[in-house]
């Protein structure tokens, strides 16, 4: 088993200090967070963290459990890239003169699906969204034409198999929690029961 990219999706209460509590889960294990996004979720009042790390699945599983253990965390999921749909947004600032003069630039932007956000005399800002390789590619092709500024957002991801959090939230709100929390994935793996 190799390290691979995992996307951790955490449903939480909106609580000051929770970001630190979750971040320390990673930093105490010396795990670098590749990307982190917080946003509202589909359920009202529930926040959603999307965290990307490169790790062994074993480590990610333990991390998810320890994140879930935090009082304000409702649920933590972890997924490989083929289990999610994800996007990152990127902004590019280029000189308007360059674009006006060079038809090639316009073609490149069109090919990469870039949209103009702001057009000024001195510069134009384009936006693309997509996977990291896609935004990286556009950076590479724009570089010769004087890319003035570039920024990329954190990943946002939707879990393909998820049914959303509305029903789960109802369960959580019941004084007696439902059955759901109790997946025990090791019950049927009675061979090779040790690691490390």
């Amino acid at each position: 088993m190799n390290k691979q990219e995992f996307t951790i999706t955490v449903y939480t209460e909106n609580h000051i200090g929770l970001l630190v509590r979750i971040a320390t889960m990673f930093s105490r294990r010396k795990i670098n967070i590749e990307s982190l996004n917080t946003s509202p979720s589909e359920a009202e009042g529930i926040h959603r963290f999307t965290i990307v790390i490169n790790e062994f699945e074993e480590v990610v599983r333990k991390l998810a459990r320890q994140i879930e253990k935090q009082v304000e965390v409702l649920k933590a999921y972890y997924n490989t890239n083929d289990e999610i749909i994800w996007q990152e947004l990127a902004l590019y600032k280029v000189s308007t003169d360059e674009i006006a003069e060079k038809a090639q630039v316009e073609r490149l932007l069109r090919e990469h699906g870039a949209r103009a956000v702001v057009i000024r005399k001195d510069y134009t800002i384009f936006e693309t969204s997509g996977h990291r390789e896609e935004t990286d590619n556009l950076v590479a092709v724009l570089a010769p034409f004087g890319l003035i500024e570039f920024v990329r957002s954190a990943r946002v991801a939707i879990i393909k198999a998820s049914h959303g959090f509305h029903e789960k939230l109802k369960e959580f709100e019941e004084a007696q929690p439902g059955e759901e929390q109790l997946e025990n994935e090791f019950l049927n793996k009675q061979d090779e029961i040790f690691t490390m």
Partner: protein
């Protein structure tokens, strides 16, 4: 007098006007708190001012250092099974709590700590005694929260007690700015917290895992139970005993599980881990089913993980889902409160006995007695050993005392040899290994169990870390028996230096003051014992003395604690010498 008028005017309605400070104390009373350990300071003065009017309902123990305060809170919680409550001021008061918070976190001790904080408008300005206590304490608390508005206080405190006490217990810290302590607000009474939607104190028990676990146990030929503090925290001592007795399975304990099962119970086969008993360590790698109950496979218990119980099927009962498969993967993980899961398991397991398997433990014990225990308890020289002191203490207390230990050789020897008849009697710093824990924890333990004898067993290193708490003993007139086992060394480090660093004794020869004179200065009577002939008389004097007593016993300087599993080795490689 304006405030009196306001409260008089509002008392006729459903609400009354009180201050944030009063709301804190009202919450304590509603939660059944009787004792607070604390130390005042600028930012917590409004709470102390309010406490002045509550002194008939809430006992406050003035400690000598905030670390002493929080360890006392831990001792109180561990001996009483209730939640410890601690006060400290902002800045240094709060940072002095950190070691105790970390200790309580790793040993799952329920605590509610209140820290004062500077006025809300000063937050982030580097004000006098301002420190970001929430961020400092985040990794060492189960939950923490800063209150800047008094109206939040009743609900926040209800949440604090609920979180500290339920599920896997732990420390909670509430930081209250001075303006919130002073703020008057309409108080509608205190409602205890019973549910937080994002917090599940205990997972629901699933019957199929119990059935799977029972099926594995029923097929076992050499089953072995290892148990930890979960049994005590879950108040499941009876359920635990019923389980092992019906299933006939030998059981060994972690040092925090110690006293959950009486020492002389026929199925109690001893202590696990680095300085544990020979049989339980070696036979962990011989059993066919290992049933772990309320314990977390600490590295001091498992030794080298890839050589730990590889041959066995593992059944792990724990209330904290993140513990299952954390260090050792379970064949069956039984999530839940062992108070609920153990009776379900007991119902399904067959009534059995394993005479041959138990005999194996006996054989190993005989070997350990021959190689280690006999000499430790009956030394062939004139030099006193720690083991014989504990043995003699057992004979005098009959195993009914609460034993509070510090950290190091004396701790291991005390855990190995002390006798216990009832639960919640062994109080020690297990996970964090905090030297200086015992003296303040013993003070708290006595307040938590006032009818019981409390003996603090401490080394000459640990006592000097929190010796200032003798002042707390003096002023509070709390009855704590202090037994210093003085080997004139930082003994455990010295032992490692001897065994693994070619006897290069680097800064372990610690000097001691005249403890008897120090105790006397604090109006505590004391005695020093050097010769074996004086030992029993002195122990009797200590135990029969009305009030606190300090007994210093000079023990062998270079005695080692054996057996020992060297770090990084398998438990099978346990050394008897």
């Amino acid at each position: 007098m304006a405030t009196t008028d306001i409260s008089a005017a509002t008392e006729t309605t459903a609400t009354k006007t009180i201050s944030g400070s009063q709301a804190v104390l009202e919450a304590f009373i509603a939660e059944g708190v009787d004792t607070i350990f604390g130390y005042p300071g600028g930012a917590i003065m409004p709470i102390y001012d309010a406490l002045y009017d509550y002194h008939d309902q809430l006992k406050h123990i003035l400690v000598r250092h905030e670390q002493g305060g929080i360890h006392a809170g831990q001792g109180y919680a561990r001996s009483s099974g209730k939640c410890g409550v601690v006060f400290a001021t902002s800045g240094p008061g709060a940072t002095n709590l950190v070691t105790g918070l970390a200790d309580a976190m790793i040993d799952s001790t329920p605590l509610v700590c209140i820290t004062g904080q500077v006025y809300a408008h000063l937050l982030g300005t580097d004000a006098f005694q301002e420190i970001d206590v929430i961020n400092i304490t985040t990794p060492v608390t189960k939950w923490n929260y800063q209150v800047t508005d008094a109206t939040e206080l009743p609900a926040v405190l209800a949440k604090a007690f609920y979180i500290a006490k339920t599920g896997r217990p732990g420390p909670v810290l509430i930081d209250i700015t001075k303006n919130a302590q002073l703020q008057k607000f309409e108080y509608a009474g205190y409602t205890p917290c019973k549910h937080i939607r994002s917090y599940r104190p205990k997972p629901i028990v699933r019957k199929e895992y119990i059935e799977d676990a029972a099926a594995i146990i029923n097929q076992a030929e050499k089953p072995f139970v290892i148990f930890g503090q979960g049994v005590i925290l879950g108040k499941a001592e009876k359920e635990f005993k019923a389980f092992i007795e019906k299933a006939g399975i030998p059981a060994a304990w972690t040092i925090l599980g110690l006293s959950a099962l009486p020492t002389d119970h026929p199925l109690n086969v001893g202590m696990l881990g680095m300085h544990g008993n020979y049989g339980p360590n070696v036979l962990t790698n011989d059993c066919d089913v290992l049933i772990a109950i309320g314990m977390r496979f600490d590295d001091r218990v498992t030794g080298r993980l890839d050589k730990y119980a590889k041959q066995a099927k593992i059944i792990h009962l724990d209330i904290d889902p993140s513990e299952i498969d954390k260090n050792v993967k379970a064949t069956v993980g039984v999530w839940g409160d062992c108070k609920e899961t153990l009776p379900m398991l007991t119902k399904l397991v067959e009534s059995k006995v394993y005479p041959q398997w138990l005999h194996k433990f006996k054989e190993h014990q005989d070997e350990e007695v021959k190689e280690v225990i006999h000499e430790e308890l009956n030394p062939s020289t004139d030099i006193l050993t720690m083991g014989e002191v504990i043995r003699n203490l057992n004979e005098l207390t009959g195993g009914d005392a609460i034993i509070v230990t510090d950290v190091g050789q004396h701790q291991m020897v005390a855990c190995r040899y002390a006798k216990f008849n009832q639960s919640k009697s062994n109080i020690t710093s297990g996970g964090l290994g905090t030297m200086g824990f015992a003296l303040p924890a013993a003070i708290g333990a006595k307040f938590g169990a006032p009818d019981r004898t409390v003996v603090a067993i401490i080394g000459d290193g640990g006592i000097q870390m929190t010796i200032q708490e003798l002042g707390t003993i003096m002023q509070s007139e709390v009855d704590v028996k202090i037994l210093i086992l003085n080997n004139e060394f930082l003994g455990m480090v010295r032992q490692w230096q001897q065994l693994f660093h070619d006897k290069r004794y680097s800064f372990v020869d610690i000097a001691s003051p005249d403890y008897i004179a120090v105790a006397k200065a604090y109006k505590i009577e004391g005695q020093k014992v050097i010769h074996r002939t004086d030992l029993n008389g002195a122990l009797e004097t200590m135990l029969n003395h009305k009030g606190s007593f300090l007994l210093e016993v000079m023990v062998g300087k270079e005695n080692n604690v054996f057996p020992m599993v060297p770090q990084g080795c398998s438990i099978s490689e346990i050394r008897l010498k």
